[in-house]
């Protein structure tokens, strides 16, 4: 390999490094996993072993050694390197959150050993054919340059964090800059601002007759970013014929106002939507995306995405009770990926591990979601995370902040991690994104956030306002809370992870697990006591003023002195042009009539979008709290899919249902109908879970391409129209939403690759009676299998096209009869007449029946054999298992909407017509993705 190589850049100061390598006795499952992953990436000749690596600045004593090594399972490995085996040491970069080192320091204090430590991994790689190949494997698989440093064939040093620099406040010259110079400034600082916005900033400071400070310009960029200000959803939109479209956010907001459901407490304001299905409590709901960070650092990106949305619910003064996630990935069997893009298998592993790590450790059940695969998500994976929380209506209302209230930050310390995340999220990615985005990515510490939940549960009444530190950090949190009052804070007292942060970095850092509170000075001592009890750090940064100015100091230096009005209302309105799509809605693209029904059904079941997701769902603790009464996995073997999940306090008799609707394949053809279908699917899922159709709240999450392209914005306009129409049809209001735009990758070839329009709808609904929850499985041989809904189907965006490699056609239109049907279905569930019920979505009737058969361990005999009935897709439909005695009653209740499909059989085979019989083993094998 020709000498030693140092790949990561480590500014080292000579010092002592002790290295303890802890290897598993016998086979370490991680070694097999990483060797397998290397083979997937095209390096089947490599064999890789992994061990833990602990670096300390003193030799480890007996007590600490005993902590680090479990002799029954592990041994210290001091074997020297051997020929043909390369050693790769990987540790976190300085300043990246390192919980293992934190705990090691804590334990070292107890054992009386003052050590400085970091914890990483040592890999031994056999079979590398060249230094270049090894370097590629390290970068693609063993280490992530964004958050880790490494050495090859040279023991890694503990190193020293960079020498702290003196804090300084710089000014940025904007006066007299022409458009070109403003553009250059925009690019240099990664501000992601429009030219109009840059001009407005220049004008503002010209009028003040002074240049902005670095912190001011960063703060304005953050506050005005697409991510924080939703500039597109607030923009004036013009169509080619000169007509204007009402801003999208107004449309969604006014649709909710028009519906005027009495149980909506808070919609489209604050950190989360809030509803009150019962008198004693309110429920907060929020869903977020964390797409860009998950693309460059899948574990950390997904991890902090979950942490962030949980804080949103805490920031709405609710106690989190459950998590949801929707994940969109490239195809795992993809041979190569574009420049600078991680392979989908690596992204999938990292994202699932990141969600599991945060949710499991913080102690919340991860209950509902979806996992979708499409090549269109290769360079732009999508990670949606949602959170639901509860609060008592007896809690004192939050009335602040009031002038004089203290600005208090609680939780983790501030580091250089996550600088400029808000502006980073608002830009297009390219081959170099992973390199330049380093500081934008954070690693979470779920235990700290768990302690924050505990602190907030004990401090009701001690604060007057609360918000979370998310994108934009203190700048965003304090900036929003100080609107319109104003505030004065001093950053010199902010607790830092390490010295040397510049004031603007402290102000903008998106270091995780922090909340900002407004606290009446008279209650500060009590608040401090609660925090101390739980070992949570509290810092008093300053106070809210009332003069409408936001003043930030660092000791004697003025870092920011801005008019709150300019900050929040000085952003020039954005004007955008849109071209509405003209989807094909006339002639459907039908499959051949002589389709091989058995092979097609098995291919559908095995398609990764449809196949069993138990391998992902079981990585998440969905049982904690004992409140998940309707589970994501159901059936005799616990590997069937439920429609919606049901959560209820274990001792109560009512609860909530959560359902998800998403279908980007509809979106590729017809964004408006996709939106309608996604709302209908989410609603249908909660109905099938037993929810009351008159108490359904919705969340929208849009992931889209660059809205400055008129056709892309046109699809967004069409989708919002679909959302608004569907909300009105179902009488189900939107209470919160979020958009993630610019999900694009600029290839080296100059081609832009945008994600397909991907709208995720989350429905959260009241379940009045837990004794009548339907089950999405077959249970009674001899009962009828019945289609509830219209018999007409469509194939545009269908999974039948996906498995056949065909495309085109008409996306299913809204079903005008669905809302009334759902109310009757709910009534029939309450009467005990619909105990077995499953939503029909991707893959149509045949897939829905097969799923119920697999879950229930029974079979069925279906009469229809035509592809349209079996595999066509439509809105508003269920398969139900119906007692023969109930059939007439159900037919009368749903006139013209009930079609008998067949009967349930004790024989666990699935028979379709007289010619097709699929045995249970074949069904289950396909369901497990092996076909």
């Amino acid at each position: 390999m020709g000498g030693t190589r140092r790949v990561g850049t480590v500014p080292t100061v000579p010092g002592m490094t002790e290295r303890l390598v802890v290897a598993a006795r016998g086979q370490d499952p991680r070694s097999a996993a990483v060797t397998r992953a290397a083979a997937t990436l095209g390096y089947p000749h490599l064999s890789i072993e992994v061990a833990d690596l602990v670096l300390t600045d003193h030799p480890v004593g007996r007590a600490l050694g005993d902590l680090l090594i479990e002799p029954l399972l592990q041994a210290a490995d001091d074997a020297p390197g051997s020929t043909g085996v390369h050693t790769v040491d990987v540790v976190p970069r300085h300043g990246v959150t390192d919980p293992a080192a934190t705990e090691l320091h804590r334990a070292a204090e107890w054992t009386g050993e003052a050590v400085r430590a970091t914890v990483g991994r040592r890999y031994r790689v056999r079979g590398a054919r060249s230094a270049t190949e090894l370097d590629r494997v390290v970068r693609r698989l063993l280490a992530n340059p964004v958050v880790e440093r490494w050495t090859v064939d040279e023991p890694i040093d503990l190193g020293e964090p960079p020498e702290p620099a003196e804090p300084i406040v710089e000014t940025v010259a904007v006066a007299g800059l022409d458009d070109r110079a403003l553009g250059a400034l925009n690019a240099e600082r990664g501000l992601s601002l429009d030219l109009d916005q840059l001009r407005a900033i220049a004008r503002h400071f010209a009028a003040l007759d002074r240049p902005p400070t670095d912190a001011e310009i960063e703060m304005i960029a953050q506050t005005w970013s697409e991510h924080c200000a939703h500039t597109t959803f607030r923009a004036d939109i013009t169509l080619p014929d000169g007509t204007t479209v009402e801003p999208l956010l107004h449309q969604l907001r006014s649709s909710t106002e028009t519906l005027a459901r009495p149980w909506v407490v808070n919609a489209f304001a604050g950190n989360a939507g809030i509803v009150a299905f019962t008198e004693d409590r309110t429920i907060a709901l929020k869903a977020e995306t964390h797409n860009h960070p998950s693309a460059v650092e899948p574990f950390g990106g997904a991890n902090t995405g979950v942490g962030g949305v949980i804080r949103d619910v805490m920031g709405a003064a609710h106690r989190p009770i459950a998590i949801t996630d929707v994940l969109c990935f490239g195809s795992p069997d993809m041979a190569s990926t574009p420049d600078g893009v991680l392979h989908p298998t690596r992204i999938i592993d990292g994202v699932v591990a990141g969600v599991a790590d945060y949710g499991n450790k913080i102690g919340l059940p991860t209950v509902a979601g979806a996992v979708l695969y499409d090549p269109a998500y290769t360079a732009n994976p999508l990670v949606y995370a949602g959170c639901i929380g509860v609060a008592s209506t007896l809690d004192p209302p939050l009335t602040g902040p009031h002038p004089g209230d203290r600005v208090v930050v609680i939780g983790g310390r501030t580091g250089r991690d996550g600088i400029r995340g808000a502006t980073f999220s608002s830009r297009t990615m390219d081959g170099a994104t992973g390199e330049v985005a380093g500081a934008s990515v954070q690693i979470g510490d779920p235990i700290v956030e768990k302690l924050l939940i505990d602190v907030l549960a004990e401090s009701t009444g001690l604060f007057t306002a609360i918000t979370d530190c998310g994108a934009g950090g203190l700048s965003s949190a304090v900036g929003e809370m100080a609107d319109p009052l104003g505030a004065e804070v001093d950053l010199a007292g902010a607790p830092l992870k390490y010295p040397g942060l510049q004031p603007w970095e402290i102000w903008l850092s998106e270091a995780q697990e922090r909340m900002v509170l407004a606290v009446d000075p008279a209650r500060l001592a009590e608040m401090t006591t609660v925090c101390r009890r739980h070992g949570v750090e509290l810092t008093d940064l300053g106070h809210f003023t009332g003069d409408g100015r936001l003043v930030v100091r660092h000791g004697s230096m003025t870092v920011v002195d801005l008019d709150v009005g300019f900050l929040h209302d000085g952003r020039p309105p954005r004007s955008l042009r849109a071209e509405l799509p003209a989807p094909q809605r006339d002639v459907d693209q039908l499959p051949p009539a002589n389709l091989d029904v058995a092979a097609t059904l098995l291919a559908l079941l095995a398609h990764p979008n449809i196949a069993c997701k138990a391998d992902v769902v079981r990585r998440y603790d969905h049982e904690i709290r004992g409140a998940t009464l309707g589970r994501p996995l159901i059936g005799v073997e616990g590997d069937g899919h439920a429609d919606g999940v049901v959560l209820a306090e274990p001792t109560e008799h009512h609860g909530i249902a959560v359902g998800i609707g998403v279908n980007p394949w509809y979106g590729m053809l017809d964004a408006e109908r996709m939106a309608h279908a996604a709302v209908d699917e989410a609603v249908r899922n909660v109905i099938a879970a037993g929810a009351d159709p008159d108490k359904i709240a919705l969340l929208d999450n849009f992931s889209w391409g660059d809205p400055r392209r008129p056709s892309t914005l046109g699809q967004l306009v069409a989708a919002v129209r679909g959302c608004v129409d569907a909300a009105a049809a179902h009488d189900a209001p939107f209470v919160s939403g979020k958009d993630s735009l610019n999900n694009e990758y600029l290839g080296r070839d100059g081609q832009r690759h945008a994600v397909p329009p991907t709208l995720v709808i989350t429905a959260v609904a009241h379940v009045p009676d837990l004794t009548r929850l339907p089950a999405a499985e077959l249970r009674h041989p001899g009962h009828y299998l019945v289609l509830i809904g219209a018999p007409e189907t469509w194939f545009g965006g269908s999974h039948l096209h996906l498995v056949r490699g065909t495309s085109g056609g008409v996306v299913p239109p809204p079903d005008a009869g669905a809302p009334a049907r759902y109310r009757v279905v709910h009534h029939l569930i309450g009467g005990g007449h619909l105990g077995g019920l499953h939503d029909i979505s991707e893959g149509g009737v045949a897939v829905a029946v097969a799923e119920m058969a697999i879950a229930g361990g029974l079979g069925a005999h279906l009469e229809p054999t035509d592809p349209a009935t079996l595999f066509g897709e439509a809105n508003g439909r269920f398969v139900a298992e119906v007692d023969p005695h109930d059939l007439d009653l159900i037919r009368r209740a749903l006139p013209g909407q009930v079609t008998v499909l067949g009967v349930v059989s004790a024989d666990p085979s699935l028979r379709i017509g007289e010619a097709v019989r699929i045995g249970p083993d074949d069904l289950r094998r396909a369901w497990r993705g092996r076909y």
Binding site: P29, R30, A32, A33, A63, L67, L68, E70, P71, L72, L73, P99, A100, T102, E103, L104, R106, A107, W110, T111, V119, A353, A356, N360, K361, I362, G363, D445, P446, I447, K450, L451, R533, H534, G535, V617, R618, R619, Y620, D621, H622, E623, I624, R625, G626, L629, R631, I634, G635, V636, G638, P650, T651, L770, L773, A775, E777, R779, G856
Partner: protein
């Protein structure tokens, strides 16, 4: 008393189980307990609840075990010597094993990463196996409850496993599928005195019939007994002292 360390997260679940079993539970933060170990005298029964104490950094339960040994070792030994029941669930079990309280007589066993290689959440069926253990004595039927752990594979040497069997210290085994590759399908252990129970699964998440995934959809025979039965036993023993 339920002892909670930073990262413990099933304390509320176990509090419900104890209430339903007739106890009057309260949560003590480990740091406060260490500042005033006398609090232990006021407890009749001790729970180390599940979760990720100290983030499970460096291995599950390891830091908490050092913490307990260093700061509460004598008080804990005294508690157990008095015959008062102790239960460690999941992370609590891992901690009791690391600290040597289970199975007793030095560190003779360990809980290793699951043979599946990662965290796993699913329902399992448990067979009570010890008449010595005050928590399982008299229980006949299988108990159904979920597991939710990444490091639950019970490991010891063959002699230790045989000795534990001979001493009636294997309190619970996995009946049917062994979810993590545990030796001897061991799901829970008791100490030589029978008052300390440690187990990986979560009986506190099956204390009401409707918490069972097959409660409504299942056919007769699908549904095993409540995890509550273990807590009823433990609370009864504590009250009889």
């Amino acid at each position: 008393m339920i002892v909670s360390a930073p990262g413990t997260n099933r304390d509320a679940d176990v509090a419900l189980a104890l209430r339903l079993a007739g106890a009057d539970p309260f949560v003590a933060l480990v740091a406060e307990l260490e500042a005033d170990p006398g609090q232990l005298d006021r407890a009749d029964l001790l729970v180390l609840a599940g979760g990720f104490s100290y983030a499970d950094a460096l291995g599950a339960g390891r830091v908490w075990a050092v913490d307990l040994r260093r700061h509460l070792g004598d008080a804990l030994d005294h508690f157990v010597a008095g015959g008062r029941p102790v239960i460690g669930i999941c992370n609590g079990f891992q901690t009791l094993v690391r600290s040597g309280l289970l199975p007793g007589g030095g560190r003779r066993a360990a809980l290793a990463p699951n043979d599946g290689g990662h965290f796993d959440c699913r329902w399992v069926c448990l067979a009570p196996a010890s008449t010595r253990c005050v928590w399982t004595a008299g229980l006949e039927g299988p108990i159904d409850c979920p597991i939710a752990h990444g490091e639950g594979r019970f490991v010891c040497d063959d002699d230790t496993l045989a000795a534990l069997g001979d001493a009636d210290q294997i309190a619970l085994t996995y009946a049917g599928a062994n979810p993590n590759g545990s030796m001897g399908a061991v799901a829970g252990l008791t100490d030589p005195s029978g008052v300390v129970l440690g187990l990986m699964p979560h009986p506190e998440n099956h204390v009401l019939a409707r918490q069972h995934p097959r409660h409504r959809a299942g056919r007769p025979g699908d549904v095993g007994g409540l995890g509550l039965d273990l807590f009823v036993n433990g609370v009864r023993h504590a009250k009889e002292l």
